[in-house]
């Protein structure tokens, strides 16, 4: 079936069976690297994108349900040369080891900052709870989010 996906402000016609998870269309048809396959179960957040401004698991969302909604991926935030404030904060804090989870982390954090520009420490941790990092980069990811929000980068009491 044919669908029109609105990704990072541009319309993309795609041809896929309606139950195909959005993730495979983003990666394989549209050649976007940011969203990653982690579990296919909505347990790890490696595939996180924004759908109508909210963080969503691209591995669970059928392409048919994604059509007509505003989809934003990490590629829509900025580039290596002109990064968005949040991407820039991840660079400044060197907030990655293997980095496989990081695009998903950024997209989930962006959804928080869009809705709550100056979140509390407890709000940040609760919001980021769905996304897993196995390298243990959490402390730097938290610092990057605080930095992008204009908060002190050192942790306040949660």
């Amino acid at each position: 079936m044919s669908f029109v996906l609105t990704i990072n402000g541009r319309d993309h016609p795609v041809d896929a069976s309606p139950e195909t998870p959005l993730l495979y269309v983003l990666r394989d048809d549209l050649r976007l690297n940011g969203a990653k396959f982690g579990c296919g179960l909505g347990q790890c957040g490696a595939c996180t994108v924004q759908v109508d401004g909210k963080a969503a698991y691209a591995c669970l969302l059928p392409v048919a349900a994604a059509a007509g909604r505003r989809i934003r991926t990490v590629e829509g935030l900025g580039t290596a040369e002109a990064p968005s404030p949040l991407q820039k904060a991840f660079m400044v804090e060197q907030a990655a080891q293997c980095g496989y989870c990081i695009a998903g982390m950024i997209m989930r954090a962006q959804a928080l900052l869009d809705a709550t520009p100056r979140p509390t420490e407890a709000e940040i941790r609760a919001h980021m709870q769905p996304n897993l990092c196995r390298c243990g980069t959490h402390m730097r990811i938290l610092r990057a989010i605080r930095r992008a929000a204009g908060l002190p980068v050192e942790a306040a009491s949660a």
């Binding site: 069976s17 579990c39 293997c98 980095g99 980021m128 196995r134 402390m139």
Partner: protein, 741 residues
Amino acid sequence: MSVGAPSRRDALAGGALVVAFSMTGHARAQEARGPQKTVPPALPGSLKTTPWLDAWIRVDVTGQITVFTGKAELGQGIKTALIQIAAEELDVPPQSLRLITADTGQTPNEGFTAGSHSMQDSGTAILNAAANVRMILGQAAARRLGVAADLLATTGEGRFKAPDGRLAGYGELAAGLSLHVEAQPNAPLRSRQGGKLMGQDYPRVDIPAKVTGGQAYVQDLRLPGMLHARVVRGPSFGTELTGPDFAAAQAMPGVVAVARNGRFAAVIAEREWTAVQALQRLQQAAWRRTAPPLPEGRPEAGLSGASQDQVIFDKPGGAGGAKTVKARYSRPWLMHAAVGPSCAVALLRNGQMTVWTHSQGVYPLRGALAQLLRMPPDKVRCIHVEGSGCYGHNGADDVAADAALAALAVPGRPVRMQWMREQEHGWEPLGCVQVGEAEASLDASGRIAHFRYEVWSHSHNGRPMTAGGLVAGAEVDPPFPPQVPRPIPMPEGGGDRNAIPIYAVPAGRVVSHFVRDAPLRASALRSLGAHLNIFAIECFMDELAKAAGADPVAFRLAHLDDPRARDVVSRCAEAFGWAARRPSDGRRGAGFAFARYKNLASYCAVALEVEVEHETGAVKVGRVTAAVDAGEAVNPNGLQNQIEGGIVQALSWAGLEAVGFDAAHRTSFDWSAYPIARFKDVPRSVAVQVIDRPGLPFLGAGEASQGPASAALANAVADACGARIRDLPLSPERVKGAIGV
């Protein structure tokens, strides 16, 4: 993956200097034998096995410098550190360098990227190779400009300058000479004169792409005409599907082929989702266990089997102290559990198999694949491309074999094979269960008089050296015999890594029990046996300190002679504010632990505070402070990142993790059945003090903090609420049970 891979034209340009070392008979013979000592051992790092300068560094006529390493980027930042080292010694801008990492077609054979060896092996080799190249180019510049070499200075952008201002560029100088020469052991090091790049927090070269959706991983490779594949297996290692409906899968629209060889099977499709759906269809079949039943009950049940026993430390005397303490510690089976399942891309074209892989050892993998595919090794090329986090021997090699076997069925078309989440959890090799038993006596003054320790472990080295070390090796027809697990000898050790106490003990004995036959698939997990042994010995040191009525930090210092060890312990305690810490109040407490990894690499101490919730047994970690001495710190921020990550990962292991299994299979098949730390579980803060030792050897830091962090957690819980928990993990149920509420 290469950073700006040189084209063949580059390699052939300029004539004299560039000799493709891999084409020489010597190099080829060397590959066939594996690394050999071919020169006197005076050469440092991996120059011992690959002494030729052009194996490490090449300079083309334009002055473009390419650096080669046999080590792989695993997210530990090795690319950045190696670029810093080479740029420092060559005195060129770091962004001007190209770096090629592990590739059997291009780079030296440096074995595995493992054991925190990359800086010692490759960092040291590149440091000295670059110094040699600068020396040789300097000599050529002196001849060309007609001045003494010691009057020349490098300009910082790839040229030598004479006192009268005349210049000679590296490219033009290199065109007139050959770097296919062996390194000299004592080329003068620029970095010893106070370098400007080494020791700096140079930003990681791989991070910009990783935060903006650039192509960064093997999972992101998209080659022209590429197909997608999934491997067809039972739910976990030691099982198989019974009678999957291959005809039905083959008939699904979009399925290109079902590759089969014996019990091995893979579905190959034009689209990835089609391959996933075909796999799900096949997985509707029943499954059965093919290996002996797993031992139910206590996780360490398998360790009661026959063992090879070795006394690894024996210092007679000292018996009959005033007070004796005895304790037994254990850890369960643990998983690497990378967030991204293992992946590889393979292409068979014109009789040549090329595999893009996140394996830790491209050369050993090439050997194993050549056997599996029954192809000559020189017809198999393995190219490292980053994958999701690597914490030891995970599914990377297995999925490379799966991809290659699938690619045989579709010659000329690249095949991208990725495992599903449940396949990664079910089939990856695990870090094995271990038990450590400690007993010590204290003399009348409260010092250790005698120390005994025994450790029981399965293998920590199941890395594929043959096709029998790959999952697919047992599935193809005829199958390859499984590799026989062997212990890793001291001084590094495997299950007995760090089993010998680093502390000054007047007498003692340490015995290593290697239990060859393991019920589950065992191999290398970050820090190997050092995790349990440091956990045991460092918890035991706290138990001894308590028996001696001494402060845990003071008790350690009283038994430490090595000044670097003492520095790390003191610095960590000071930064944490150990002496002024809040006394425990039944809920809150602090813990300390220290180790020198392998007793010969990096020193690391960890102090942390916890709060124990009596009602639930939940342990909340607050402030964590660490100190590390990894020798000369090339990139302090990168070193801190490794130590921080190691601490957070180890707190997840120690607080939450254990692989579950029943008689038939692993029951930890996803993140709900194998929970790891999430944002609400991680510490409030982690601060790492780096003690830099300029000029001293690189010691590596990837595995320094796991043991100390795990022990510090248990010591803090004991301090907080009096509950001494000796079996990992310190799960809420276990903590609650130990408190007795």
